[in-house]
Amino acid sequence: MQFLSSSVGRKIVMAITGLMLLAFLVIHLFGNSLIYVGWINAYGEKLHSLPPVVWAFRLVMLCVFAVHIYFGVTLALENNAARPAPYAVKKNLRATFSGRTMIWTGLLIVVFLIYHLLHFTMRMTNPDISNSLDELGRLDVFKMVVFSFKNFAIAGVYIAAMMAIALHLSHGVQSFVQTFGLNSDKTIPTVEKAGTGVAIVLFLGYVSIPLVIILGIMNYKG
């Protein structure tokens, strides 16, 4: 238990759970990309034919999220309390916007996640377009996604949320490398660039889907 009350121990927990969430984002992007090759309905069907696997995965994700959020919030509160009186003038030479807003981008991600689950997983926010079946009798995920993102408000929410995730990761990726103690003076600049790179690649990957739908490049012909 000493590990979980120590400063560095909790940082390492943040880094491990952050890395697991990052791994999930990569897997999830691969899943989403199946929309480009027309396999998204088949993918949805496959996942839902394996309830134990899906539920085990969801449980693990829930725990990872809960731990990351719990320690993220407590660390942020402690760090705030460590400087009760602010400076009249404070100039940061190195600290970045993304680094200083980790707790806020994190909390935005939580809000988005709740909406995202209500929208696509529980299909409660747009039941009219979210519950039809395709000609093979599978849930028509493709139709749900296309009709959702044709709505500017919904697409806008998703794109904004991806910005929050990209900001979170552009600090988070380089941060976990340092937390795991893998840095030397030589590696830090490269690791920082790579972290931004990972954030940008994931951002472009995720945002491409609402974008091609808004632009009418991908459409539903039913």
């Binding site: 560095v8 660390l75 705030n80 400087r83 600290a95 340092q178 103690g181």
Partner: protein
Amino acid sequence: MDLTLFVWRQKGPKDPGKLQEYKAKNISPDMSFLEMLDEVNEELVMEGKETIVFDHDCREGICGTCSQVINGIPHGGQERTTVCQLHMRKFKDGDTIYIEPWRAKAFPIVKDLIVDRSALDRIIQAGGYMSNHTGGAADANAILIPKPAAEMAMDAAECIGCGACVAACPNGSAMLFTAAKVTQLAMLPQGRIEAAQRVCVMTDAMLKEGFGNCTNHYECQAVCPKGIKVSFIAKLNREFIKAQLPL
């Protein structure tokens, strides 16, 4: 040159304190920043007012006593420079300069620009040492130390404990300070014996004193007058992980 200063004045730990405006007139560009404040203080003495209280000792950048946040940057923003080594030629005639104390919960303000930094001493007391047996003087080269290890230990030992890292850190963390001592001792064979215990008790002591946690902003390295690097924090993290392993 003539300058407008906004200086933090606070009568004591309980006083709310406020920024007060002063004029610094006829300042020579060759003066150090502290000499400039000495001039302002002389004026204040003439006027029968209370002088601005600030910490200083060696005035040659080695003791780590001087401690002022100048225009939002601890030690004023000149690379690898303490306030006492900062010169007025870095400023322009007519400049406005904000001068504040280190701000952190763990550094209570004593008066004006002086803070109590004994929290850093208590981090050292917790484990920033190595235990040695006394006795006859040991042979100088009895324990061999590889050159790169000795160099790294010496680089870490450059820390003068001024606390600028804490003052700059958005989280008020003393991680760079702690990491410098952990690294210095962990690099040397004599220090390895207590290494695992040391990294744990020192980081725990840091938290207990009310410092924040490191979130890898690296703001500390940017202001450190001695060029202590955040790669030492990576080293501390490695030492911490090693300390958790059963071997």
